[in-house]
Amino acid sequence: METLLEQIEHGKLWQFPGGIHPPEQKSVSNQASIGRIPLPDYLVLPLKQHIGANGQLLVNKGDTVRKGQPLTRPGANWSLPVHAPTSGVISDIKPMPSAHPSALPELSIVLTPDGEDQWCELSPVADYTQLDNQALIDIIHHAGIAGMGGAGFPTYVKADSARHKPVEFLVVNGVECEPYITADDLLMREHAEQIVQGIEIMQHLLCPQYVLVGIETNKPEAIQAMTAAAAHNDKILVRGLPVKYPSGGEKQLIQVLTSKEVPSGGIPADVGVLVQNVGTLFAVSEAVCKGKPLIERVVTVTGNTIQTPQNVWALLGTEIKHLLTCQGFEPVSEQRVIMGGPMMGFTLPTVRIPVVKTTNCILAPDNQELAVAGSEQACIRCSACADACPQTLLPQQLQWFAKGKEYDKLEEHNLFDCIECGACAYVCPSEIPLVQYYRVAKAEIREQKLEKVKAERAKERFEARKERLEREQEERQNRHKRSARSNTRSAEQSDKVSAAMERVKQKKDSQSAVQAAIERAKAKKSADGTLEPDNSEVALERAKRKEKARQYKAEKDTQATPEMHAGGAGSRKDAVAAAIARAKAKKAAQQNDATESSATAPAASDDPRKAAVAAAIARAKAKKAAKETEQPDEAQPVEADAEPEDPRKAAVAAAIARAKAKKAAKEVEQQAETEAHEEAATEPDDPRKAAVAAAIARAKTKKAAKEAEQQVDAEPDNAAAEPDDPRKAAVAAAIARAKAKKAAKEAEQQAETEAHEEAATEPEDPRKAAVAAAIARAKAKKAAKEAEQQADIEQASSAPEQESPANNAPLSAEEKRQAAIKAAVARAKAKKQAAAKDQEGNDLS
């Protein structure tokens, strides 16, 4: 059994499956030698004429260039330079229609030849065997050589491939199996020596075991010429191949010459083979031995509409139109001009397209020669396409999938192994343009893959962004937390104080009884001692009580959530809150007084926002109440109860609270006084306003009086801060109460005088005056009633008040309720009376 090498040496050839035998039509153009055509008026040089990336422009518009001068510089990614095919001026650099079925514009250099055809300085290599591989590869690279068989793969990449994998066979493709095309045939006939030189350069680079030159037997002159040229080199084996389309396909040629099959999706290098076109090898030889870059190529201009079909040397960038014109083009109706062969070429949308490195044939057939494709018929499943397929694919199956856009299935059926040779479409009795379907499907799949890659990247970017946003938010939160923590730390010290205050607030509940007592006393006083009772006091009392109740509730709430106070609220916050609350309390008092309505209190409780305000008020009140704690006999025991383990601290806290309270009281007092004076003085012109102002003033004076009382209370309290002397404290309290009473009286008197003043200032409105009088009367009645009631309760509560402060809470609550009822009754009565008075007033007037 012979080895593969021996078989190859003996000239054995193999078969590839499928294939067709279309009419060759080679004799049309292979009779004449390769001609030269006159220089065109201008050359259009697309920057990209191969597979890979553009080079970078080296010239500008208006530059004068010489023949062979590089116009672009190759970068990375398989980029190749383009060179000036002749000397001349760069007249423009702009997008021009490209040599592509779409003719979409691509950036191109437009060169206007000067006709001198002056070469730039060339640097030929005398003996390439002296050069190392890299230098040779660089020469090939910078000569801009791309595969000239059709695909335009950069040759330097192939020449460099031996570095990655040893090349067993170098296959030289001189098959040229497609009908009409004779460019390689003529090139081999005329330039066999240079081609062999190119082969030897590649041999030097790749060191293959054998170089196999495949030429179809329908080119006997070429085979002869090549055999003669390669006679000196026993490693170059020239083989005549049976004529069959598409034996010039890379994979088919490898199979015919070496019996090796390129795996699906693989490249020839996978089986240790490298394929080069004869045209490419000629260009390599020219580049290395003569220093000439790739600036021209052989193009077959053929077809029935061409008078002198022939192969010509065409400068790259020559317009197809110029080529056709030079060969005597006589267009017929519906003329088609095909770039490439009839099997694999494409119809040009326009003839104003340049010759590029991969252009091997321009076919201008008339309509009899190459029939216009008829209308597509339904597939009859004759399987002729499957028999013809050189890649042993299932064309009809692929067609179904392509029509149904089942791209997954297409890939499963190895669509990408299709070499688009067109054999299937050629044999199809239904004239189905199978290859077109495959091309569309391939483009679609490629696009989908690209999109998938893009989608993947978009997803990555989206997720990265999401992560970033989350991180940023977290950082922001951390920052907030940190600052909050530092705030808490600074507030910790004041927390102690506030804690103490809280305790005091708790105590306050029990003291409401004391206050109630004071109030009662005042009420009594107003009932007894004043001839014209001012019910503003009562109203204020009522409001206060209500507020206290609210504050009671609020306090309960705040106690339930003590962290609100302990954690977040610093002393400053408290102070601010207190200030706000104070202001609110004032306003509330004013409202109560002016409208004589207790609606605000219940209304406040049902609205959450109002409730919040109320809570703030309550907090403020609690503070105020803390000031009012200074009844030693009650305050101290409670404090002791609350904090038995630390009485001294509590005492200190109480002292601080008291001091604060004093200050606050004083301030309020002063404010109230000044305000009262101001109001009284500045607003006499508007009787109603005046009345309101008076009411406010009254309220204020009352408050001031109370605060004064408190102050008075606080003073003895300071002295009697220690719980060891309850009796003294009691005495002090009694004195304080007395003082408070006196203060209250004074305040009342003040209010009365104000009321008188008001009355005096509004004589012009008898009706209003009457109403006011009625109201006053009603108030007086109410006050009297309340005072009575309070007196009763006081008697009842005076005993337990001293014994157990705990009992006071329910009592005061009861009292409050009763007072509220009474107040409501009184209000109703007052209204009635006022109405009566009103009528009276009306009658009078």
């Binding site: 104003r352 077109q436 999109e451 989206f462 962004r465």
Partner: protein
């Protein structure tokens, strides 16, 4: 007695298999719903929110939970078909009467009109817009998914969605097209 042995045997078998199954459930545990990943892989990842979900993955999750597969206009009919195949449901035409083959678009900022408000930058789900406050912004066309989300926030309406220009790389053979001929 036979009954007793039988019960013991069956019980023992049940116990053994139960243990094996329990072990397998722990050992070969599938972390996330694989169908969600598969659906997500089909979706075009424009993150445009035209489906009504805040991104492609949320929609994938919704599809896995039984939502319609025809809510992705950027994906077009192809995506609907793939999703329908995957989910085993009937492929419906795109909701909202969108065209079957969406035209690829990218955002373009008319740079001399841009005021540098950064609103589009915040809106872009894939960070494809570069710029800074009071500096001109521009779109990285390669990264733009054409989701439209930057158009609305622009206060000066300087963002256009322009169709992606066809290049030789993206060009497709047109089977039905009448070849354009210009012989002169």
């Amino acid at each position: 007695m036979t009954l007793f042995y039988a019960l013991i045997a069956i019980g023992a078998l049940a116990l053994i298999f139960g243990l094996i199954l329990g072990y397998a459930a722990v050992k070969y545990r599938v972390e996330s719903n694989p169908i969600v990943d598969q659906v997500d892989a089909i979706l075009p990842q424009t993150q445009c929110g035209q489906c009504g979900y805040p991104g492609c993955r949320p929609y994938a999750e919704a599809i896995a939970n039984g939502d319609d597969v025809n809510k992705c206009p950027p994906g077009g009919e192809a995506t609907v078909k793939k999703l329908a195949d995957l989910m085993g449901v009937e492929a419906k035409p795109l909701a909202g009467g969108e065209e079957a083959e969406p035209i690829k678009k990218v955002a373009y900022i008319r740079e001399d009109e841009c005021i540098g408000c950064t609103k589009c930058i915040q809106a872009c789900p894939v960070d494809a817009i570069v710029g800074a406050t009071r500096q001109m912004h521009t779109v990285i066309a390669d990264e733009c998914t054409g989701c439209d989300l930057c158009v609305d926030p622009c206060p000066v309406d300087c963002i256009d969605m322009i169709p992606v220009a066809q290049t030789i790389q993206t060009w497709k053979w047109q089977i039905d097209a009448i070849p354009v001929k210009q012989i002169d």
